[in-house]
């Protein structure tokens, strides 16, 4: 089964990792957290929804 990850990158280069059907195992969660914390996600006032998205996904990933 293919694992899919969607990455959104805004015009300032801020990224959000959006996981789709990707929360099935501890390994997946670790990778998700790693990607989301890869220095590419910034608490940008310009795009707060990005940060919130990743926060939510990290919660799922770590949950």
């Amino acid at each position: 089964m293919a694992e899919t990850v969607k990455v959104l990158i805004d015009k300032k280069g801020n990224a959000a990792v959006v996981l789709d059907g990707f929360h099935g195992s501890t390994g997946c969660s670790a990778l998700a957290a790693k990607l989301a914390q890869n220095g590419r996600v910034v608490d940008e006032q310009n795009k707060p929804e990005f940060y919130e998205t990743v926060e939510a996904e990290q919660t799922i990933a770590q949950g």
Binding site: M1, E3, T4, K6, I9, K11, G13, S25, L31, L35
Partner: protein, 149 residues
């Protein structure tokens, strides 16, 4: 002589990827892939030059020399900051008249982000399935890999 502006650092920390993005993904003189375009990459920052070959006090690790920037232009530089990110050094003239203003810098940041994530995901075993620009200007990239993690 056009002064260099103080510009906030960009969300860019990988020098090699910055060079590749400048070479291939952003406009110089209104063209992508400007013929003969060269981007200098230095371990230690070196001086920029302005119009009429005047040495400027500003230094940078990554430099696009003025002949590639445009007519009557100054060098464009990228200087690594304490945070690890690069800050652009662009003259007031080039920021305005030569079209290297905020929109150009945004394009650079976004294209860099695409390269950075494509590399990160590849290193984690993913392949790029699709990349599209959404209506709000955000790039959506979809990656996949087979099997469990």
């Amino acid at each position: 002589m056009s002064k260099y502006l103080t510009i906030d650092e960009l969300n860019i920390d990988n020098q090699d990827l910055l060079v590749q993005t400048l070479l291939h993904d952003v406009l110089f003189q209104g063209r992508l892939g400007l013929p003969g375009l060269e981007v200098e990459s230095h371990d230690v920052a070196v001086h920029l030059y302005g119009i009429q070959d005047k040495l400027r006090p500003e230094t940078a690790e990554v430099i696009v020399r003025r002949q590639f920037v445009g007519g009557a232009a100054n060098d464009i530089g990228f200087k690594r900051q304490a945070s690890g990110n690069f800050a652009p050094i662009i003259s007031e003239f080039d920021d305005g008249y030569s079209k290297y203003g905020e929109a150009w810098r945004d394009q650079l940041s976004q294209r860099y982000g695409e390269r950075k994530y494509a590399q990160d995901m590849y290193e984690n075993g993913f392949q790029l399935d699709s990349k599209e620009l959404q209506q709000d200007g955000t790039t959506a990239m979809t990656f996949s890999r087979m099997g469990g993690i």
